[in-house]
């Protein structure tokens, strides 16, 4: 089947610094139900708004049936949107709301009437034409919003978190109805949500987004079973994530034990290991790889959620059998249940310059550093740096590359403790600690590990132990 819409290398930034969307490449086939899934601020709504035409990409191309639609204003695109809070016209009744688009097309009265009645039957609200929209419940308003969009017979229907304002029961009902409607109408649906369950229930294809980038594209099963990175693993479904290292051919070491796995990566390379709670099995015959103490066991309806502690790590498992708190249990993880994701060594790289006060300026802040380390045998008299040969070395504005291992980094909520301040943009629990991503005001990212739990969007100052960092002169190649 051919692609109905293609997004090619789409970038979007509002102020030229922060990228809301970067390098979005997406192909959607005719008649597909595609969901853009991600936490708030991941760029999914912006992507949708670019397809609708309310936003223009900073660069890139949007093709509809192979032709660029970037020059078309929203009113000329054969695409309709169901808005987050419905956006029904409060001064018009139901009939006039639905007929809005048809009247603009100057269709004759009888055709309009027929079409409106037909979509009202589809959304199950026939006979309510004359009611003002303010008298409708949330669910009914939602249906009218959908009716108003599909009555125009768009090629693509965009839905921006359309069920967000409904209560759980209503939401589940509407999910099934939407899926049903999609099958009956044959229109391509592009759906935006932060609710993973919604995405899994409805979509043919899920596009997981975070931080303005597409993390993974695939069917619900693909994404659940083979997450491409720890973010996806953490976001879709429950998961245990551990720091691991490849310890042999198709062997990975984590939780101080060696496990067989199905992934083949170079020996000694670092990796993140993802284990789904349902893939951890309690065994009685001692055939398991790890042993730990049951910390808690909670009945969840169809299964027990058990937390087992081993050393400083904990692992969560789902089982239909109850375990007694305090008991030692032997756990087995099948190679198929272990997903190894290669993780580059947690090193932060920055480019910066030396200031005239001989401090290092990078990532939007400054730190002090012993600049004599930069040149072998050099000396510093408190004002100038002299090389081994006694010649003065001019440091001001000299470009540098700074490498900071995670061990050298710490965070503080006292923003005056460091001139490098930022905001926590993501966090992931990795076995016995949390891994944070802190974005500074100038858009640089730090990876920081900490045992304590911080919140997303916390403002922190980044503390750098300048003894542990590695600085080299010149820009990185």
């Amino acid at each position: 089947m051919e692609n109905i819409i293609e997004l090619k290398n789409i970038n979007k930034s509002y102020d030229g610094v922060r990228e809301v969307c970067s390098n979005i490449n997406l192909e959607i086939k005719k008649g597909e139900f595609v969901t853009l899934l991600g936490p708030s601020g991941c760029g999914k709504s912006t992507t949708l708004r670019m397809i609708a035409g309310f936003e223009q990409p900073t660069s890139g191309e949007i093709l509809l049936n192979g032709e660029s639609i970037l020059d078309l204003p929203p009113n000329l695109r054969p695409i309709n949107t169901v808005f987050q809070r419905y956006a029904l016209f409060p001064h018009l009744n139901i009939y006039d709301n639905i007929a809005f688009g048809l009247k603009l097309k100057k269709l004759d009265k009888n055709t309009i009437k027929e079409k409106v009645e037909r979509v009202l039957r589809i959304v199950d609200l026939e006979g309510m034409e004359k009611r003002p929209v303010s008298t409708l419940s949330g669910g009914q308003q939602q249906r009218i919003a959908i009716a108003r969009a599909i009555v125009n017979e768009p090629k693509i229907l965009l839905l921006d978190e359309p069920l967000g304002a409904l209560d759980l029961k209503m939401r589940q009902e509407m999910q099934l109805e939407l899926k049903d409607m999609h099958e009956r109408l044959g229109i391509t649906f592009i759906y935006v949500t932060h609710d993973q369950e919604e995405a899994i229930t409805m979509s043919d294809k899920i596009v997981v987004m975070a931080d303005g980038k597409i993390q993974q594209i695939g069917t619900a099963e693909d994404i659940y079973n083979e997450p491409k990175n720890v973010f996806v693993a953490d976001f879709i479904g429950d998961s245990n994530i551990f720091n691991g290292v490849m310890s042999g051919k198709m062997k990975v070491n984590f939780l101080d034990a060696d496990f067989e796995c199905l992934d083949d990566y170079p020996i000694h390379s670092d990796a993140d290991v993802v284990v789904r709670p349902e893939d951890v099995v309690v065994v009685n015959d001692g055939s398991g790889q790890i042993t730990g103490k049951v910390d808690s066991c909670i009945f969840k309806g169809i299964h027990y959620e058990t937390t087992v502690i081993m050393g400083k790590n904990e692992i969560v498992l789902k089982s239909t059998k109850e375990s007694k708190v305090g008991d030692m249990v032997n756990l087995y993880i099948d190679p198929d249940g272990i997903h190894v994701i290669p993780a580059p060594k947690n090193m932060n790289h920055f480019e910066g310059v030396i200031t005239k006060y001989h401090t290092l300026n990078f990532a939007g802040g400054e730190i002090t550093y012993d600049v004599t380390k930069l040149f072998k045998g050099s000396t510093h008299d408190g004002k100038h740096l002299f090389g081994a040969d006694g010649e003065r070395i001019h440091l001001t504005d000299m470009p540098i590359t700074v490498e900071i291992p995670v061990e050298a980094l710490d965070m503080s909520d006292d923003l005056d403790e460091s001139s490098i301040n930022g905001e926590i943009i993501s966090l992931i629990y990795v076995g016995d600690h949390y891994r944070y991503k802190v974005r500074t005001e100038n858009g640089s990212d730090f990876t920081i590990v900490d045992e304590d739990l911080w919140n997303e969007f916390d403002k922190v100052s980044v503390l750098i132990d300048s003894d542990k960092i590695n600085v080299s002169v010149g820009e990185k190649n």
Partner: protein, 243 residues
């Protein structure tokens, strides 16, 4: 609150000897002079309201779509003159008009309308701006999305949704311009407006006729308010705050 009103009602229905009568009203509606003043007041009020609306709508629209940074400044530009004493402002307008036209006597009607518009414009701008600003951006986007051009969006969505603001603004400009005589006095040197007619009766200590005219105006105001409130019924809650 009601007591002074009762006094006015008492005076309106009595004559100098204290007898209850409706002669005051009879005299008003049979005198060409007073009826003429009433009609003339209407004409001025209509003109002022119309001109204010024509100026205020585009201004409010510009305000509502302007960037937040500039919006406060622009809004202040229209509100700050209101902090200056009303008579002083009119005196200033008088100076400007005299300078531009040479003498006020050349365009008395035009001068009056200009003076009143200057005075009442903020009362038209504020409610319209408020109602425009309240319009959910997604409604405008929805209109575009459904195929409306910019003009169609304005006519079919933005304008109807700002009607409550327009009505508040019109009421707030129309009623005071019916009765305001300071402007007329200073820019026209005439007593051809209801307010000044009342004033002239009172300054001549004819409280009975003065009160009678006040009652007539009061009745007119009640009628107009009733008509406009019916118009804006769908959005009566926000109008309540403005009136």
């Amino acid at each position: 609150m009601v007591l002074p009103l009762l006094v006015i009602i008492y005076y309106a229905f009595t004559n100098a000897e204290g007898e209850v009568t409706i002669d005051n009203f009879k005299a008003f509606f049979t005198s060409g002079n007073t009826i003429g003043t009433l009609i003339y007041s209407f004409v001025i009020a209509f003109a002022v309201t119309a001109v204010c609306l024509l100026i205020a709508y585009p201004v409010s629209y510009a305000l509502a779509v302007s960037k937040a940074k500039y919006r406060a400044v622009l809004l202040m530009l229209f509100i700050i003159p209101m902090w200056v004493n009303f008579t002083l402002r009119i005196t200033a307008v008088k100076e400007i008009l005299t300078f531009v036209e040479g003498s006020l006597a050349f365009h008395p009607f035009l001068n009056t309308v200009i003076g009143m518009c200057y005075d009442f414009l903020p009362f038209m701008i504020l409610p319209i701006y408020t109602s425009l600003e309240k319009i959910d951006v997604s409604l405008v986007e929805a209109a575009y999305d459904l195929g409306a051009t910019g003009r169609e969006t304005f006519i079919k969505v933005i304008l109807p949704l700002s009607v409550p603001g327009i009505i508040s603004g019109m009421t707030m400009v129309f009623l005071p311009s019916m009765t305001n005589y300071v402007v007329l006095d200073m820019l026209y040197n005439s007593t051809y407006i209801m307010g000044s007619l009342i004033g002239s009766y009172f300054s001549a200590y004819d409280w009975h006729n003065g009160s009678m005219i006040s009652m007539v105006l009061f009745a007119i105001i009640v009628v107009i308010s009733m008509i406009t409130s019916r118009f804006g019924e769908s959005d009566s809650d926000e109008r309540g705050a403005l009136l």
